[in-house]
């Protein structure tokens, strides 16, 4: 059923939201800022996940969710106190629940052992003394031996004993009880007397009679002997009774089921019809009116289980105290947020759109921009004056196109929250694996970025956080010895800066051990033994390929993933990553990315006969150097004097292999760029054509990744222009060992 598949998709989407709500609620509880509504929201999240899972038959998920839900039910009814340590346990349970949801979606298996262990923990928390046997779906009643029950026994009231010759009633019990009558037609007598409560709940006897009619041949006799005249009538009172004769092959259970909803609101007798019965039938209906309703077996069984004594929880006042503690950590924002999302849900005026449609729209707008640029170019080539109506019309068109583009990009912009949301769990797991105590603080979750970028943020951030916990933060005892709190803090922040999105991962650990880093770099021959490097430069050595300070490959961050891989993936996005560190105080990784991967403001330049585009955001300034400002350092290259300092000159054409020897900077132009590590470089190009916004076309998906090149674009004249990756170009120069040594420059 296709429809069902769609709803299944909805279910998993909903699970994502519910799991997030669940985590936020538990974090609030852990921080001591949750209240009764928080607990309720957590319960509802688990309850909803279980409900949907049941509908789709995800057995393992339902089972685990059920145990979780049972505990949450106990918490919200104050049978189990909502302490902060409970919240910590529940967070672990939430992680396992999330695993189950993912497994259900992907078809993978979950770790049975972990699940069983957690389930046992939860059950123990629900019921520490193991006394109550909760009535759960599996029908597990340890103290109750299922047996067929014979009606007509003394305890069931005055029905006349064995004259009626009742057969044992068949009830669906786990143990094999004898099944009732053969499927041949039998006659039954049903006496049905509603109470006023039946009518109050909008139940209708006529409908029950209609249901009986569906089972076979039905004759109905009304008994209105108790009905008063109008002046004494309570219009909603119950004065009527019906006796029905039903010939059917249905069994008694089926007949009784018809009255399922109202068994507590009426007097009901269902019995096989025999002539003996007929003789004994009391025409006034008095005896029958006295007869108790047939026992509800399911209710009896459930009652037996539930009546097992539950130990009094005298921690109740404490529970109220623990939950209503004063709001503290930033994570406390979760509680009002949870409430907000509940309110917002009803009030939201949003539409759900297929992401593919947006992608298509963005592509089309991109083509529109290119086309518009080409048109503008042609107009110029035709020799039309810039003031001509065509030219000015095109200017308007350009303006409009730009606005459309911005609006469309904004549709796809999403807050980084979805990426940040995965981090608390990562922190918990990494902390536990490394034996460290860690608190995660987040900031700027609402910062928006294009969908294309968001998806690529997760991995780098994950590695940086793992790195911060594994290598950055010290073990608790070391921290305490250093006068720091045992718990380390990892801060994850996002913000817009300079037209880009900046993500910072900082820790208050020991900072980079520069001696060690330098020593390792030398031992791996990444730098010369006599290199004089600034502190910053040493810090950034960790980004070099082949660098890893782990003596052994740690499970957490060392498994083949070094910071160089992280940096390369960032660079592939047109981003930069750098590190700043203070010994004893901690380190901060700064990741900067373009807001979108779709368009770019660029400086169009000539390089050895090729047209390239350099991202405008990278350029500090462009200048035409004078000969006297250039200092030649021989084989190391040349430097440019800029405002009292010297900056290495790097010829783009030479580095990219367009020419055999570097151009003299005085013959070209210089683009001054700022490195990711804060250093500067002067890129030399042959000339500047102008500034333009260009649509980015991925080189990787159309060709392959090329070092030094970020992407490509199509210019107004229809030609392809490569988009430069300035940092990569600088790095290529440096790696070649031919970058001018800043220390030498300083010595000058």
């Amino acid at each position: 059923m296709d429809e069902l598949e769609i709803i299944k998709g909805t279910f998993f989407q909903e699970c994502e939201e519910l799991l997030a709500d669940l985590e936020n609620g538990l974090l609030a509880m852990e921080a001591g800022s949750g209240d009764a509504e928080t607990v309720n929201a957590v319960f509802r999240a688990v309850h909803s996940i279980k409900g949907g899972a049941g509908a789709f038959g995800f057995e393992a998920l339902v089972r685990f969710a059920h145990v979780f839900e049972t505990l949450m039910d106990a918490v919200r009814s104050n049978k189990v106190p909502a302490t902060q340590s409970l919240a910590a346990d529940l967070l672990r349970a939430a992680d396992i629940l999330a695993d189950h949801v993912n497994a259900a979606q992907s078809g993978d298996l979950v770790d049975e052992g972990r699940t069983a262990a957690m389930a046992a923990e939860l059950t123990a928390l629900t019921d520490p003394d193991g006394l109550a046997a909760p009535a759960d779906d599996e029908g597990d009643f340890p103290d109750f031996t299922p047996q067929p029950i014979a009606i007509g026994g003394d305890e069931l009231g005055d029905l006349g004993g064995d004259e009626f010759g009742f057969t044992p009633m068949a009830v669906a019990l786990p143990d094999d009880a004898p099944v009732a009558d053969e499927p041949a037609d039998a006659e039954w007598e049903i006496v049905f007397t509603p109470h006023a409560s039946l009518y109050r709940n909008a139940n209708e006897p006529a409908l029950f009679l209609r249901e009986l009619e569906r089972l076979g041949l039905l004759t109905v006799t009304l008994d209105d002997s108790r009905l008063p005249a109008l002046e004494d009538l309570d219009a909603e009172g119950a004065y009527l009774s019906w006796t029905a004769r039903l010939t059917t092959d249905a069994d008694e259970t089926t007949i009784r089921e018809v009255f399922d909803f109202v068994e507590a609101d009426c007097d009901l007798i269902i019995r096989p019809f025999t002539d003996d019965l007929h003789d004994l039938h009391d025409p006034d209906g008095d005896d029958l009116a006295e007869a108790p309703a047939m026992p509800d077996i399911a209710a009896i069984l459930a009652k037996a289980a539930a009546e097992a004594p539950i130990p009094e929880m005298d921690a109740l006042p404490a529970a109220a105290g623990a939950v209503a503690a004063a709001p503290a950590a930033p994570a406390a924002a979760a509680a009002p947020k949870a409430a907000e999302s509940n309110q917002g849900f009803a009030a939201q005026a949003t539409i759900r759109v297929d992401p593919e449609r947006i992608d298509k729209l963005i592509d089309l707008v991109g083509e529109l921009v290119i086309n518009q640029a080409m048109l503008a170019q042609r107009v110029v080539e035709c020799g039309l004056a810039p003031s001509s109506s065509v030219a000015t019309g095109l200017d308007d068109l350009e303006q409009l196109t730009r606005e459309i583009q911005e609006s469309v990009m904004a549709i796809r912009a999403q807050p980084v929250k979805s990426v940040f949301q995965r981090m608390p769990r990562l922190v918990r797991e990494t902390a536990s694996m490394t034996g460290k105590q860690v608190r995660l603080v987040t900031d700027g979750e609402a910062t928006e970025v294009d969908k294309t970028v968001i998806e690529r943020l997760s991995d780098p951030i994950t590695h940086m956080i793992r790195n911060a916990i594994d290598h950055g933060l010290e073990a608790p005892d070391v921290r305490v010895a250093a006068g720091k709190p045992a718990e380390g803090v990892v801060k994850l922040a996002a913000m817009h800066r300079g037209g880009r999105i900046v993500i910072e991962v900082s820790d208050d650990g020991a900072g980079i051990n520069r001696e060690r880093v330098k020593a390792i770099a030398i031992s791996r021959e990444l730098i010369g033994p006599d290199s004089q490097l600034t502190d910053d430069e040493i810090d950034n050595l960790i980004f070099l390929p082949g660098f890893s300070t782990a003596a052994k490959v740690s499970d957490v961050s060392g498994r083949g993933v070094g910071m160089d891989v992280v940096r390369r993936s960032i660079q592939a996005l047109g981003g930069r990553i750098s590190i700043a560190s203070r010994p004893g105080q901690g380190s901060t990784f700064t990741l900067s990315l373009p807001l979108t991967l779709a368009v770019l403001d660029g400086m169009v330049i000539d390089v050895a006969g090729q047209t390239l585009v350099c991202p405008l955001t990278a350029i500090v300034e462009s200048l035409k150097p004078k000969a006297e400002e250039i200092r030649n350092l021989g084989p190391s290259g040349a430097v440019l004097a800029v405002r009292g300092g010297f900056v290495p000159l790097i010829d783009i054409g030479y580095v990219l292999g367009f020419r055999a020897a570097p151009l003299n900077a005085a013959d070209g132009v210089v683009l001054l760029i700022e490195n990711e590590d804060g250093g500067r470089a002067a890129l030399v190009a042959d000339g500047i054509q102008g500034q333009r916004q260009v649509v980015i076309k991925s080189l990787e998906s159309n060709y392959r990744q090329v070092e030094g090149i970020a992407a490509a674009t199509i210019l107004g004249d229809g030609r392809v222009a490569l988009i430069l990756d300035p940092d990569a170009v600088v790095a290529m120069r440096r790696q070649g060992g031919r970058a001018p040594d800043p220390a030498l420059i300083a010595a000058e």
């Binding site: 909803s48 509908a55 759960d136 779906d137 909008a202 139940n203 539930a306």
Partner: protein, 121 residues
């Protein structure tokens, strides 16, 4: 006459499942996301049957049913609650609040329609 059913549930998945089953059985469906929203919808709709969940934010199933039974226009409307089988206490409480009957989760479309037939003409 096509009958109208109001479904009240905070889970989108559940609302979609109900809609699928009910529309398939020939009903017209209107939805609400919680008890409060349900009351708002009732200001403008006169459904033949109401199906509601119990655990919902803002106003839960019990509160919603009680409010409906207090409303002169809708007190006679049959209300079915969605419940998990293992909860005779919840069923009793729902009945006390005024529920007409119940549907067990996870439901199958047949049982759903059968329950509706028992409470609505």
């Amino acid at each position: 006459m096509i009958q109208t059913i109001l479904t009240v549930d905070d889970s989108r998945t559940m609302r979609d499942m109900l809609r699928l089953a009910l529309v398939g059985a020939g009903f017209r469906v209107v939805e609400a996301v919680d008890g409060l929203d349900g009351l708002a919808v009732l200001a403008g709709e006169r459904p033949d049957v109401i199906i509601t969940d119990i655990n919902m934010p803002n106003l839960d199933g019990f509160g919603f049913i009680e409010a409906v039974r207090d409303d002169a226009d809708n007190r006679g409307t049959p209300i079915l609650v969605l419940t998990t089988e293992s909860d005779p206490d919840k069923k009793a409480r729902a009945r006390d609040a005024g529920a007409t009957g119940w549907i067990v989760k996870p439901f199958n479309p047949e049982k759903l329609v059968q329950a509706i037939r028992r409470v609505a003409a």
